[in-house]
Symmetry: C2
Subunit: 219 residues, 2 copies
DNA sequence: TAGACTCTTTAGGAGTCCTAAAGGAGTAAA
DNA sequence: TTTACTCCTTTAGGACTCCTAAAGAGTCTA
């Protein structure tokens, strides 16, 4: 019950879910001879590895040191799920990309825990929107502090126009698809993301969190 | 951006934060010669280890196998942070408790990441409440499916009376402290938690998620 | 063409995490 | 009371994670 700050309790809740994600990752990955890290690398490569990512990018996406990433990538290479080539543009760097088999594995690994998905889907659309909005704000703050890798979120995208419509169910606009949308459609990792300039991102951020424009409820 | 289900995006967001928690745990723990698992064990023991927890309870709380927990506890024992005794009631079981030094370490390890806390505190009280409520619902569902260890949440507590007041800022009542409270005061791991019977918990749960009584907004 | 960087790999070590198997301690039925 | 479970914990073995530190290569700049 009551009466100390909600912050620590929110974090405790997030940690609990983190625990669930972690233990799920082990079960999931274990089943197909992968470890969580390896599965995660496959997923990252699948999501945005068109031209191949460099090792340092992989390491950053997973928030581990390059040494750790190098190990894991080597393990994947020896399983023929991943290919390493020297990058043409920079002879020091390496381009890591999926093999055909790797792509198949990646697709399977990217499927989210049914149970977790089911738990989230049980929330109303309004609650999901509120949750997504709160998560977005937390992630953005963590990114500004350099605590987690920058992700391809609406709020840092040059196509994002927050709170431009009076409609509370869909106040934002995406200039990429040229359509309005609401908090429940906010993205965390958008394939079409194009990083906004720092100024633009800061401006959009101010609009986004602007208290007077915050939707009170939608249901 | 838009127009597929928000579920996967919510999970992506949770995963991002999980990443931040994980990398923070390494930094934090590394500083004092502990690993994340060891720090976590200390925290669990500090939070509810009055009479000492058995190994299997520790393993369950961390969502690892008993073998892993046994290793980590041995490591802590060799650092004199933890004590192991045979349990009187059951000669097979072992009672693990903190030493004086362990208690001090536990107190320090329990402090949450400043940056994360700061990010959460930046949300309005209403947003924090909505977040906590949504997390509570997700966790409860995961628990029902046996995916994470049962935690000492309001919604499974015999003292919890959801939605008994019309006041939208504080609709619930805690019979332990005999006071009303709102979503922002919901607990995830309450020291005074007393597990409700299954029937009672199910009833409270129905009341808690009851759509007609869901607070629309509070600000 | 020297540094001075940058990107990646290797080495070494503690620890995580699993499965499998082996003790010892309780329990319950023959 | 003995035998046959069953439960709690530990050990063993193996693949990986994760770190720091240092070394090898490649690139850029003065």
């Amino acid at each position: 019950m009551p009466h100390d700050a909600p912050g620590p309790r929110v974090i405790a809740g997030l940690a609990k879910i983190g625990l669930a994600l972690k233990s799920h990752a082990w079960q999931q990955a274990g089943g197909r001879g992968l470890t969580p890290t390896q599965a995660q690398i496959l997923t990252v490569l699948g999501a945005r590895g068109q031209g191949g990512l460099r090792l340092s990018e992989v390491a950053e996406a997973l928030a581990v040191t390059p040494a750790t990433a190098s190990d894991a990538v080597s393990a994947l290479e020896s399983k023929s799920l991943v290919r390493k080539r020297r990058q043409a543009a920079d002879g020091r760097a390496v381009a890591i990309s999926l093999t055909a088999r790797g792509r198949r594995e990646a697709a399977r690994a990217a499927v989210w825990p049914d149970v977790l998905l089911e738990a989230v889907d049980e929330l109303s659309e309004y609650e999901q929107g509120a949750l997504l909005r709160a998560l977005t704000r937390i992630i953005r703050r963590l990114q500004l502090r350099g605590k987690i890798p920058v992700s391809r979120m609406c709020v840092t995208c040059s196509y994002f126009r927050p709170h431009v419509y009076p409609d509370r169910a869909a106040p934002h606009h995406c200039a990429f698809v040229d359509a309005p949308f609401g908090d429940a459609a906010l993205r965390i990792d958008c394939p079409d993301h194009v990083a906004a300039s720092e100024d633009q991102a800061a401006g959009a951020w101010r609009e986004f969190i602007h208290p007077e424009r915050r939707p009170d409820h939608v249901v």
